[in-house]
Amino acid sequence: MPAPTDTSIDLTTLRLDDALALLRHDGRPGPQQPGESPSDYLQRVVDSLCELSLKDPLTGLGNRRHFLAVLERAIEAVARSGDSMLLLLLDIDHFKSINDRHGHLAGDQVLQAVAQCLAGCVRPMDTVARYGGEEFAVILPSCRPLFGRAVAERIRRTIAALDIAAAPLLNVQVTVSIGGAYAPEWVRSTADLWIERADLQLYRAKTGGRNQVHLEQPQELAVSAEEKGLLFGALDLDAATAADPDTRVNA
């Protein structure tokens, strides 16, 4: 890469107003600090914008972009380490009816309360993100199967026990459905496929009556007697192998 020839930046010619307004809105120190060099200042602005671009403004959790970036990295880490990593997808049950009945501001309060509760239920090393409207995702590295079920159940119970002040004189309770799948130990797998598997479990939790946890079970990989019986059903292996191979070829 060629070295930049001109490193001097004239801050007065940069249009940073929109960026600074965004950062101010997020409660970050905007303007250049006394003694801060132009490049340090610019670096700080860029860093802050990056952070902002990964955050869900309503809940303060990571957003979908952040979630996907972490998941992509996780796939590669798992391929190398063989670590047992769990992906949980959560959906607030009957969220639409809260919005319809009490208004969107009440809905927002619920989202914030669930997000906060969720972040409190997991370890600092876990990634919690808002995946979509009322859908959340949690990535749990180094998560043994037994621990996975325990943490998912804990999340479900803790959220169900929340008494959320959605509006003045209005407290609501919500439940969540949770679906989860462990990371494939398969190098060339994709983040999409992983999400799909967790999503399928979430669908099962929903159709199973909501307010429940469904984790992907290891598939039955043994070969049953029925399968063995069918394997050779129509094959005449006996006739194919009965003759002495050498004499057949030489004949």
Partner: protein, 277 residues
């Protein structure tokens, strides 16, 4: 023959190679042992080399490797030395009779027959270093469905399942396919029937396995696995003779029926899996 061996892959180079596109890596596996995996790997490599491909065979049977025996090659430096950091990757690659390159596991790999994070990492690093330098990399995996075998297969873009027309071999092939579909979401496995005793038996076996797979094995919701019949290698006295003499069949008697069949399988791979380089 010098152009057979790949240019060195330095560590810094390997770091830049992305993890995912391990294309044109074919895993040769079988479930049951003793069905001719290594024989197929070595001779298919020679057949592909004859068709102009730059081919490497990697002895991925870490515990019980015997590609060296089949090829009658006993090098000083092997994969084992690369794993332990005693030798560089490029020093362990050597030309095999038949015009392809090999990376032999060597004895002493038994300690790597368990899939630890170190083995995974080292295996991946080596593959990432190798793949860019070849048109095709064949992984001669071990028998069975141990985690090392499954991990090696997971690195491949295509699976070549070798089976003989015997109930035990077919059951083990079926069981392996089932695991590969369940764990690795494979949608397609290619079948080579070795020691076929009559024409058409491989196709019949493929149909039968496919029927049972359709009924019992689903990779993802609504998606099954397609078993593709790649070809048959007929029972041929020349094969036994070549193996006993530790000659490569494709070099010693390439025109015998088994040799022609292997050439045809290479042709099927060429048109279907690895388009002309």
């Amino acid at each position: 023959m010098n152009d057979v061996v790949a240019p060195p892959a330095t560590a810094s180079h390997a770091d830049k190679v992305p993890l995912k596109p391990l294309g044109k890596v074919l895993a040769v596996t079988s479930g049951k042992g003793g069905v001719g995996k290594t024989f197929v790997s070595a001779n298919l490599a020679a057949a592909l080399a004859k068709r102009g491909y730059k081919v490497l065979v990697l002895d991925a049977d870490l515990g019980l490797a015997n590609l060296d025996v089949v090829l009658n090659l006993y090098p000083k430096i092997t994969l084992h030395d690369v794993f332990t950091g005693k030798a560089k990757l490029e020093d362990a690659i050597l030309p095999a009779p038949g015009g392809f390159s090999v990376l032999l596991a060597g004895s002493g790999m038994v300690e790597y027959s368990r899939l630890t994070p170190e083995v995974r990492n080292e295996f991946l690093r080596i593959m990432e270093g190798l793949v860019p330098h070849y048109d095709v990399v064949l992984l001669d995996t071990g028998a069975g469905i141990s985690d090392v075998v499954l991990f090696a297969v997971s690195l491949a873009s295509e699976v070549l399942m070798v089976a003989t027309p015997e109930p035990t071999s077919l059951t083990d092939a079926y069981a392996t396919i089932k695991v590969l579909v369940g764990q690795q979401q494979r949608h397609r496995v290619r079948l080579i029937v070795n020691q076929a005793t009559r024409p058409g038996s491989g196709a019949a076996i493929t149909r039968q396995l496919q029927q049972v797979l359709d009924r019992f094995v689903v990779s993802e919701p609504g998606r099954g696995v397609k078993l593709v019949h790649l070809g048959d290698i007929p029972v041929d006295a020349e094969v036994r003779q070549a193996i006993m003499r530790r000659h490569l069949l494709m070099q010693a008697v390439p025109t015998c029926p088994a040799g022609q069949a292997i050439m045809q399988i290479a042709g099927a791979l060429q048109s279907d899996v690895i388009p002309r380089p």
